[in-house]
Assembly symmetry: C2
Homo-oligomer: 512 residues x 2
């Protein structure tokens, strides 16, 4: 078989894998948006059948042989940057091949027994976590977390790593990223956030009470939809539905859906949630047609994904210029809530900074501290330095150290997030990496287009969207996160751009 | 391998096939209820991948060998009744084996090339039909119908038949049914319907104008949901959503969904549509747990399915007793529409009989004539006696003969239904068979429980539902339609029960 034939065959197998994967996405979307409750058992059977097929495809001998012949059996995993060439998404299939190889190796290295045990522990762990959080009973969750931690160690050892066991886990969510890099940028970020937070806490408090009045849900829906459309969400290739926790999902190449939730008592939740998810969706909808149906046809890492949701939500959606355009329409929709509230006060309020216990409610400045807390603790757990039984105390101490407040109950502390109960260790840092990537990209954009923010004020979002699409979205996973950072900004990932962005924004907002 | 082991293995393969089938159902449900328009290409790729897998499972060598060894290679297909034994759904796996054998033989007899050609012709035919109907241009649809007809002939010959080529097609929708039986019962039915219709046309016309006033959609939703719940739809194992054409679908054993549509200008559409679909759903939700996940775990034929939707919609849902219970609540929801309308007039109006051109808007009396029209024409088409080019004229002539009115445009005549454009020949008769099965079952019920209708008046629907579940629903497909008719009523299918039911009902309603 010629090299071209082999690549074609690999693409054919991959296409089937991706189609099965997109069906999994639809099943998951449905499960969160309206599936009848009693259907849950049947749904897990459907999901496990498809996921088994995907695993068999990816780990299969045929893929192994093709990948071996095409990449060379002894080729090491290629470092980011090594394949950097060309302005087109994947002109010579090299990104396709390295990604197929990467996926294949991960799949064959993890034994099927471990996959099954992991899945069982995840589903038990999640159920135990739900009940433990309700009852504020960490002890009931402890044995599950211990099991999940042990299985994660086993998984990391099966996958393999060079420097740090944590790298093998992190790599699942943020390919090619190393814990040492996260350490470096989080250390930089941590000092900047703490210092800015201290200064903000010294400034007069913002009165944002009007945000928590009764906002009619129908109008919230209307406005969320208007904003999503205005910033470029393509409704012919997606839709918005409701779920308990907002998410973006891709049940097809031309089917990128977002969900949101409407809380009549809080304006911020639906609108900023929608902008956030629209940011994820713009990334997926912006992938080049040539990559559709392949393993490269989606976002390259969770961190880059999060950079886009946060760029749209925070850097664009909470900017003063953005509301210059949208605030008059918003006031017309909610005259009772916003009568007498100036645009300046509105913008200040949606950017209000205040240390709080719950990560998902945190503002831009304190959010990173919530992540540092989790990142440090999960590394200590994994290394064995921190016994699981000591975790709640360690959480509370570190929370107090970083944020200046201490949880009174584990439900608002160590039990607040779902991630660990699903066995996801190495996931949390990607949220904060997203802020760093996003700010570094945005700084590069502003260097080229110093007046870009003015375009928001006139309701023109195509300029920023086209820049992001041209530099990031179109490449799907054909460029790694590191390669994107290098090609766009010319340097390694740095925390200083995010720190600078916050410094400028909040100095002005709080008149520091 | 022991016989038990072989049956277990066959059940295991079947379980996977059914799981894939339920995923197909979810993809179809989503396609009709909110999938973004541009996703249609990706969706057909997903569907064809899964349907290919299902076909490979069913037609596979392993199933062939197991079925051969377990049923004997030379065993003819078993006639209905032959396996009749036991009060439990499938105590000795005999229904399971004959059904697996039947499905396997159908799957291997139709060559893969024909399956592919058929699928392509269906999708082209449907697209051509949509545009032809819009433009009232039968000529544009003609070549597609010709192709689909030719492919149906080829399919029938591949599947095989004894008496009539049409039997091989009918058998796909109504297993074991023969065209000769349909001929017999339709002839009986036709005379009764015509004679009743003539007498009704001689009676004073019912003034049902109040049904076409503006009924607020939110209240329609509320009421439809109330009725579905009252008659026994289990919302923990299903939900109601909206689609252009109402349907019932089963994306899981514990997931039977219905759809409806709300037309503010017409009250009947949503409410009777909902009761109709709830009837289908009660059948599926009533299948015995022991059959779940197997090929026997769903309704046994389209005709029996339709008997249940029509029993609930018409025999129960349009009865005077039914509205004794629901009418007061309905008037509270729609005071402006129903103020001054007596219950008697309301019941007369929702049962108004009037020959019309469009099948899906037809009343109980004329509906059967619409089906006879289609059944006769598709048999003539299949036999070659009627050239496709002569179809529109033949349609109009027969319509005038049966219903006394003649379409002025093909869009309200031969182009009105989707079925032929999808290559479904042999499907239409199942609608009218449903009326016959339903009335024959209901007559048996009334023999046992002469006062059953009184229970509707007090809002008690569990009695009728339990009877139907005990005799029909629980058996899923483990009893054929013919076996159900025999065990429940002790005789062959007859049209007289339906004729008697209509006679009694309309004599009273129209004071004939």
């Amino acid at each position: 078989m010629s090299r071209e034939k082999k690549i074609d065959r690999l693409r054919e197998i991959d296409r089937q894998t991706q189609t099965l994967g997109s069906i999994v996405q639809l099943l998951s979307w449905d499960q969160e948006t309206g599936m009848p409750p009693a259907a849950v058992g049947g749904r897990s059977e459907q999901l496990s059948l498809l996921e088994g097929m995907i695993h068999d495809n990816t780990a299969g001998e045929e893929v192994g042989e093709l990948v071996g012949e095409l990449c060379g059996d002894s080729t090491p995993e290629l470092p980011p940057g090594a394949l950097l060439r060309g302005a087109e998404p994947d002109p010579d299939s090299s990104a396709f091949l390295r990604t197929m190889r990467r996926e294949h190796l991960r799949a064959v290295r993890i034994p099927r027994r471990l996959v099954t045990e992991f899945a069982r522990a995840q589903s038990r762990g999640q159920a135990a976590w739900i009940s433990a959080r309700e009852k504020d009973d960490f002890a009931a969750f402890l044995p599950h977390l211990q099991t999940l931690l042990d299985l994660n160690r086993e998984k990391a050892d099966a996958v393999g790593y060079e420097e740090d066991r944590y790298d093998a886990l992190l790599d699942e969510y943020e390919p090619w990223m190393k814990a040492s890099t996260v350490d470096r940028v989080f250390d930089e970020m941590s000092g900047a956030l703490r210092s800015l937070l201290d200064r903000i806490m010294g400034a007069p408090e913002v009165d944002d009470a009007f945000l928590y009045t009764d906002y009619p849900v129908e109008q919230q829906k209307l406005f969320s939809r208007q904003v999503a459309e205005a910033i470029g969400y393509d409704f012919s290739r997606g839709n918005i539905s409701e779920s308990a926790h907002p998410f973006t999902i891709r049940p097809g190449d031309d089917d990128v859906r977002i969900t949101t939730r409407y809380n009549p008592a809080s304006f911020k939740s639906a609108i900023f949630g929608t902008i956030h998810e629209t940011g994820h969706a713009l990334y997926e909808q912006g992938v080049d047609d040539s990559l559709k149906g392949s393993v490269l046809g989606q976002g390259t890492s969770l961190g880059i994904h999060e950079s886009q949701s946060r760029t749209w939500e925070n850097m664009i959606g909470r900017s003063s210029e953005f509301w210059k355009h949208f605030y008059p329409g918003l006031c017309e929709l909610f005259p009772e809530n916003l009568g007498g509230v100036s645009r300046e006060r509105f913008v200040q309020s949606v950017n209000k900074v205040e240390p709080s216990l719950i990560r998902i409610e945190a503002d831009e400045v304190t959010y990173g501290l919530h992540i540092i807390l989790r990142f440090r603790l999960e590394r200590e757990l994994l290394s064995g330095n921190l016994p699981v039984a000591d975790l709640p105390g360690a959480w509370n101490d570190l929370c107090e150290e970083l944020l200046g407040i201490r949880p009174r109950r584990d439900a608002e502390g160590v039990l607040q997030d779902v991630h660990w109960s699903m066995g996801a260790i190495g996931y949390f840092p990607t949220y904060a990496l997203g802020n760093l990537y996003g700010a570094q990209f945005f700084a590069a954009l502003k260097k080229e287009e110093p007046d870009i923010e003015k375009s928001f004020g006139s309701g023109n979002f195509s300029k920023v969207r086209e820049w992001l699409t041209g530099r990031i979205y179109r490449y799907g996973s054909s460029r790694t996160a590191g390669e994107l950072v290098h090609t766009i900004t010319g340097e390694d990932l740095q925390a200083k751009y995010f720190a600078d962005y916050l410094e400028t924004k909040y100095t002005q907002l709080y008149d520091l």
